[in-house]
């Protein structure tokens, strides 16, 4: 049986009286590319930082490579790459020096890869970091997380400050990482199209809970838009099972439903004397519907 790279059970985190995360459980296995979606303040960063042991959970547990994240041993750390939301680069150094400093912490470091990526990302390694633009600093942060070829790459809003070209390069790099089935990627982003393009698993964080955790395809199958067309006016008090939202207009109704089955489809159709049509939603629509 494959040991998951990361696993959490009933994870919770509070800051004072404020519960930021609650009852979060997950597993990240080799080959997973997990996209973490959520509104601002939903708890995405807290979730990722709990995974990495920056902060202690208030309840439950989280493990990386079988070790308690909060007490992560050096060998496990060397298998993790992390890109924080705000870079942690040293402004006084040149990019080359910064790379040198970070490389010195790892037993193995792929100089050739970093050299190649610096050229591809148009990073002048002689340039001082404080003279770089926000986007360039972010690109450098991403490169630094890749140099030691981590088994688990965790990225917190990595593309927020990148231009479309740099974003495309970044996505290609992640595809390359993800192509290696021994590696896993967890990344949070507000850019739903990026997650849609890359992730094979989706976590949706809503109000501090993992509202959805599973395959991307399963999510798209699970949450659908339902178009109802009845032969008679629909009742004012119309309700549909598992409906996330519902709009009624005479004989027509449109609803977004979760876990819609063939049995439900048939039952509702007969009850309302209506034709039902299912429309698959894009990830962005699903996200918006869940946060209405």
């Amino acid at each position: 049986m494959t040991v998951p790279y990361a696993a959490a059970r009933q994870l919770a985190k509070s800051f004072g009286a404020k519960r930021v995360l609650d009852e979060v459980s997950f597993e990240v296995a080799p080959g997973d590319v997990v996209g973490v979606l959520g509104k601002n303040g939903a708890g995405k960063t807290t979730l990722l930082e709990l995974m990495l042991g920056f902060t202690a959970p208030s309840g439950g547990s989280v493990q990386l490579f079988g070790h308690d994240s909060y007490r992560l041993p050096g060998a496990a750390k060397a298998r993790v790459g992390f890109v924080p939301q705000q870079d942690e680069l040293i402004g006084q150094l040149t990019a080359a020096d910064q790379i040198g400093v970070i490389a010195s912490f790892y037993p193995r470091w792929d100089d050739a890869l970093i050299h190649k990526l610096c050229q591809a990302c148009d990073i002048d390694t002689r340039e001082r970091i404080r003279a770089m633009s926000v986007g360039q600093r972010q690109k450098l942060s991403i490169l630094l997380a890749l140099g030691h070829r981590p088994d688990l790459l965790i990225l917190d809003e990595p593309v927020a400050s990148l231009d479309p070209l740099a974003r495309r390069q970044f996505l290609e790099q992640i595809v390359e990482v993800a192509a290696d089935v021994r590696r896993a990627v967890v990344f949070s982003s507000h850019i739903v199209s990026d997650i849609e393009r890359l992730a094979n698993k989706i976590w949706i964080v809503k109000d501090g809970r993992l509202y959805w955790r599973g395959d991307f395809d399963a999510l798209k199958e699970s949450i659908v838009r339902l178009h109802v067309r009845s032969s008679r006016p629909l009742p004012q008090t119309l309700t549909l099972p598992n409906a996330l939202s519902l709009e009624r207009n005479g004989v027509f109704a449109t609803a977004v439903v979760r876990d819609w089955t063939d049995e439900l489809h048939q039952e509702v159709g007969e009850k309302l004397d209506a034709q039902l049509e299912i429309e698959n939603l894009a990830l962005e629509d699903i996200f918006l519907e869940l946060h209405r």
Binding site: G16, E49, T55
Partner: protein, 449 residues
């Protein structure tokens, strides 16, 4: 006007801690001066009877003084807020934003100076102040003192690293020696007006012309010599900012030379023991300031957690060692200076020895106080910091005083050593459970809220 008043209110009441300190300060000033004015002969003046001993009188007189200090630090948000707002987009989009910020800054300093000068006048004369030469001198002296104090606070909060300590220390000289000199009974009033006006003209120019200055800075070409690679060094030191201890140590020479000139100029005609006291007080402040950079260790160490193969406990041990390595250079320069001062003024061996010990203790207390700051500063740390600083200043006054008893000096030094040990123990415990989500300034602010 409304915006200026609102800003001033926020400076004094922006956080729960500052709100409480401001209210306590105002209460102490009002209550302390009322006691001195309306309950005669509570405190005896020359030739007047007193119902209290000298020690009790001294304590009563300390109430308004403590109030002044509390009010001063109650408005500590002002320099940070003014500089942040002046540098933000608000300064560009809000009408007359820079002018209002300048007015609010001056208003804050003027308010503190008014309260302080009134309290000082009452403390000295046991009657309410009225427009007079003495009061005007007190007011102008206070205005200059608190202007430079807030400038020091801004400098220390705005800039980090060796240059900040250097600049802060240089400004401290101004705070320590200049206003006192300008308040002297024989000094013409214009000498209190000129530096105050000059200082505020400089502040106004900096604040109002910030966009142009910023533009100049953006267009300035970086000199090629600054493009050179770093000179090597331990990676941990680079990441937590302790990689160039010699720079900070050499940096101490500038404020020391400036202080030597100023102290000779301003205090050249007073007794040598007073000059030595000023020197030791000043060197203690330098050692505290240079060691205080340890308060950034928690935030900076975040980047080390996933990179370095150390546990939290090992990380603390390494960071503690790194800061001591760095502090030793600075301490060395300060100790040599203290020894030179002692030799020059023919200081007795006892005073010289205690002065040297005190500099070491000041560095230790300040370093561990900094290392304790692994999350937002709460009541406990704030109390320890204020208590520690008061102890240090008391010890610096006593160390070179030939009339001070050996027991008092030993007790003060022992208390400082115990405080350093206690702070180290707290820091060690905190680092064993350090939470980097709380160590980040912005998160700490949220958590505190």
């Amino acid at each position: 006007m409304k915006a200026v008043a609102r800003l001033m209110l926020v400076y004094f009441t922006g956080t729960a801690l500052l709100r409480t300190v401001s209210v306590l300060g105002l209460t102490a000033i009002v209550a302390g001066t009322a006691v001195l004015v309306y309950l005669p002969p509570l405190v005896g003046q020359v030739g007047l009877p007193s119902r209290f001993s000298l020690a009790e009188e001294a304590l009563l007189m300390l109430v308004p003084v403590a109030g002044i200090i509390a009010l001063l630090f109650g408005g500590a948000l002002m320099p940070t807020m003014v500089s942040r707002l002046a540098g933000s987009h608000y300064a560009y989009v809000l009408p007359h934003a820079r002018g209002k910020l300048l007015a609010s800054a001056f208003g804050t300093v003027a308010f503190v100076a008014l309260m302080a000068s009134a309290a000082m006048y009452v403390t000295m004369n046991s009657k309410l102040p009225h427009v007079s030469f003495t009061y005007a001198r007190l007011l102008l002296g206070s205005l200059l003192t608190y202007s430079t104090t807030y400038l020091v606070l801004w400098f220390v909060s705005r800039f980090r690293g060796p240059l900040a300590a250097l600049g802060g220390a240089t400004l401290v000289i101004g705070t320590l020696v200049l206003p006192l000199r300008f308040m002297g009974a024989t000094v013409p009033l214009r000498w209190a007006i000129i530096p105050t006006v000059a200082l505020w003209i400089v502040i106004a120019i900096a604040l109002l012309l910030a966009p142009r200055l910023g533009l100049l800075r953006a267009n300035r070409r970086r000199p090629t010599w600054r493009m050179s690679a770093y000179a090597g060094g331990d990676e941990l030191d680079l990441m937590i900012g302790t990689s160039r201890p010699w720079l900070l140590a050499l940096g101490q020479i500038v404020p020391i030379v400036v202080a030597a000139k100023l102290i000779a100029w301003l205090y050249g005609d007073v007794a040598a023991d007073i000059q030595v006291k000023v020197w030791l007080f000043y060197l203690v402040i330098l050692s505290v300031l240079s060691a205080a950079a340890a308060s950034f260790a928690a935030t900076r160490s975040r980047a080390l957690w996933l990179r370095a193969p150390w546990t939290r406990a090992e990380l603390f041990a390494r960071i503690e060692a790194a800061f001591w390595r760095r502090n030793c250079y600075t301490l060395g320069v300060l100790l040599v200076t203290m020894a030179a001062v002692g030799v020059y003024f023919e200081l007795p061996n006892r005073a010289l020895a205690f002065g040297i010990v005190l500099l070491g203790l000041a560095t230790a207390v300040s370093t561990y106080l900094g290392l304790v700051v692994t999350r937002a500063i709460g009541w406990g740390v704030a109390t320890l910091a204020v208590g520690g600083m008061l102890l240090l200043f008391m010890a610096s006054i006593n160390a070179t005083d030939p009339r001070a008893s050996m027991a008092t000096i030993m007790l003060l030094n022992f208390t400082l050593a115990a405080l350093a040990v206690a702070l180290r123990s707290i820091a060690k415990r905190r680092w064993h459970d350090i939470d980097w989500m709380l160590a980040r300034p912005e998160t700490a602010a949220h958590a505190a809220a």
